[in-house]
Symmetry: C2
Subunit: 341 residues, 2 copies
DNA sequence: AAATTTTTGATTTACGTACATCAGAATTAG
DNA sequence: CTAATTCTGATGTACGTAAATCAAAAATTT
């Protein structure tokens, strides 16, 4: 049988009330007594029954997700996963709410973060924009003892407790190697389609991509980055223009969202040119394009894992517990047409 | 506030005892009364508080993992992950034990499975050998109402409740495409190193690999499979012999374990030949070889995820609950030197 | 040594569910 | 219509922890 608080009391030769005071860090215990109890806890190997404790406390975890609006499939997927998590609230003792802010809007994000002060939250998750104001707002929340998790896009240099997303530099490097190896030594140009250089994840992907390209595939020339603002229409226009303007493009790396537009452009203009294409985010559109050979590889982060991980981390942080590190590492999925889920 | 059993009783106009009889499927309730209670449960949206229920029941989950012995890093990793899970037993109300059986030994596995009858288990997980006897033994356990999960290697056609492992046909297909594309149109021979054609996962990987090779890379010729029994020494000998006997080998796919031996052979014999190599299972050896360029890609299944998933599924099955499907899908990890964890 | 403060003990209630018991009500069989 | 049977209600205890109260003991101050 697992030891209980009663066993601690017996082992330490004190009363239950004293054990409780030590366990829950309540005042009114002499140092020597506290140490006696702590020794007993270690000796008998007591671990608090979290389920019973939560039951007694009537604990619930009010959590908030701050998400950008946006007409791309990845964000739709992210919303869907958060809503999925809401349906599990009853089981998980969570109370999840979503706050929407306009995409790429630093001021709105800061305002949303500041509005959280004073509410009785157990944690906040946000898709960060990499700006000093946002960093300051996050730091204020952390200072106010609120567990904060960044989602998808990180905010390094801030005091956020955790980042639930992939290593984007590694993602960019991986894309470069896939593209470089798939092109098998051919000479030519490679073009990169990004969303916005404002968000850290896109900047990091580009950085990783460019560095491996330069170091290992010198026969490939990197063209200036196209910024499509994660918008299918803009992406379509930019890629169409680039492809009709040059015959030397042999590879494309799309590191943001809005791939619907890219795919449309590829089918219209890129047909039969033997382009090798690597994109991010598995959606119904990229999946179809992978299957029909329009694109060659999809790098993906599993939004469901990210959301569930963020929730686990916020709850654990709120309780001062630690998490299974390996379980919370968000992996970069690489999909070829053969291993689609 | 969440509705409780008291709320059901009030809403249905019956006593707590009757609600309890309905909820726990105890006898002694008229059909009309039962339906009244069930309607009330639906109406007020009651969901049982599993934590409280488990507390009241004093529920623990005795689980057993049946694992093959074997001197390869993957199995070592699997053992380590199960032992890791044991350290979390106190939190997760599990009581995990490990049963070791000799690798590739059908009779021993069947004996181990049969020995589980009569014990009070909440679930069993096994690395299956694909044989009729094993299938029958698993079916007997399932018939005896024991949740059974296959781990790493599946047992299709059996009544096992769940498979915690990757899609090995897809893994083989993916390996073929990586190898084929990385070889960039070159002509030559490709050799396959397997563990044993007795285990289903190896057979399936080969099947997937061969089919994509034949369909999409006709310029590559598949040599007869080398069976290394997942043993580093045997693998080393086989690969060394193959490489010294032929100059036309340009690609190698190692779909089993024992890659230490393969890597040794590559460094000794394959040096400077420009071989492209894809292997399975990320271990310290394959990681180092990936980093120094001896091999080009590693396909991996995360043993930690598999073990944790198996535990979640066994617990849920024991309670008659359902699981989050997306969370239990074990993904095929593809590692290049750029995205190593 | 008395008065005061701090520390500790004993006890109770609560969380939401499970499970057992026994008495009383309703239903069915004879 | 009575007896036997089947349902239902009322009640209490338990699980392991949290949290509160009040009394008693110990330590500290005056």
């Amino acid at each position: 049988m697992r030891p209980t608080v009663y066993d601690i009391a017996a082992a330490a030769g004190v009363s239950l009330a004293t054990v409780d005071r030590v366990l829950n860090q309540r005042p009114g215990v002499r140092l020597v007594t506290r140490e006696k109890v702590e020794a007993a806890i270690r000796d008998i190997g007591y671990v608090r029954d979290v389920a019973a404790a939560n039951l007694a406390k009537g604990r619930v975890y009010p959590l908030v997700f701050i998400l950008p609006t946006g007409d791309n499939s990845f964000m739709h997927g992210l919303y869907a996963e958060v809503r999925q998590a809401m349906t599990r609230s009853a089981f998980e003792r969570t109370e999840i709410s979503i706050v929407e802010v306009p995409a790429f809007d630093t001021a709105a994000l800061v305002a949303a973060l500041d509005a959280l002060h004073g509410t009785d939250l157990a944690g906040a998750a946000l898709v960060a924009i990499d700006a000093p104001d946002v960093r300051a707002a996050v730091d204020r929340l952390v200072a106010a003892r609120l567990p904060v998790v960044t989602l998808v896009s990180d905010l390094t240099g801030s005091t956020r407790h955790h980042y639930a997303g992939v290593d984007n530099i590694a993602a960019g490097r991986t894309a470069a190697r896939l593209l470089g190896r798939f092109l098998g030594g051919r000479n030519g140009d490679v073009t990169v389609l990004a969303g916005s250089m404002l968000v850290r994840d896109h900047r990091e992907r580009l950085e990783g991509f460019a560095s491996v390209m330069a170091a290992e595939f010198p026969q490939l020339r990197l063209l200036p980055v196209l910024e499509g603002r994660d918008d299918p229409e803009i992406a379509n226009a930019l890629v169409s223009e680039a492809l009709s303007g040059s015959n030397s493009i042999i590879g494309i790396y799309s590191l943001g969202a809005g791939n619907r537009g890219l795919i449309r452009a590829l089918k219209a203009t890129g047909h039969g040119r033997g382009l090798t294409v690597v994109v991010h985010e598995l959606t119904e559109h990229t999946r179809a394009a992978l299957q029909d050979g329009t694109i060659d590889a999809v790098l993906n982060q599993d939004a469901g894992h990210e959301v569930r991980s963020a929730i686990r981390v916020m709850k654990a942080t709120a309780d001062g517990q630690d998490v299974i590190a390996g379980q919370e590492r968000i992996r970069l999925d690489i999909f070829l047409k053969d291993n689609l889920p």
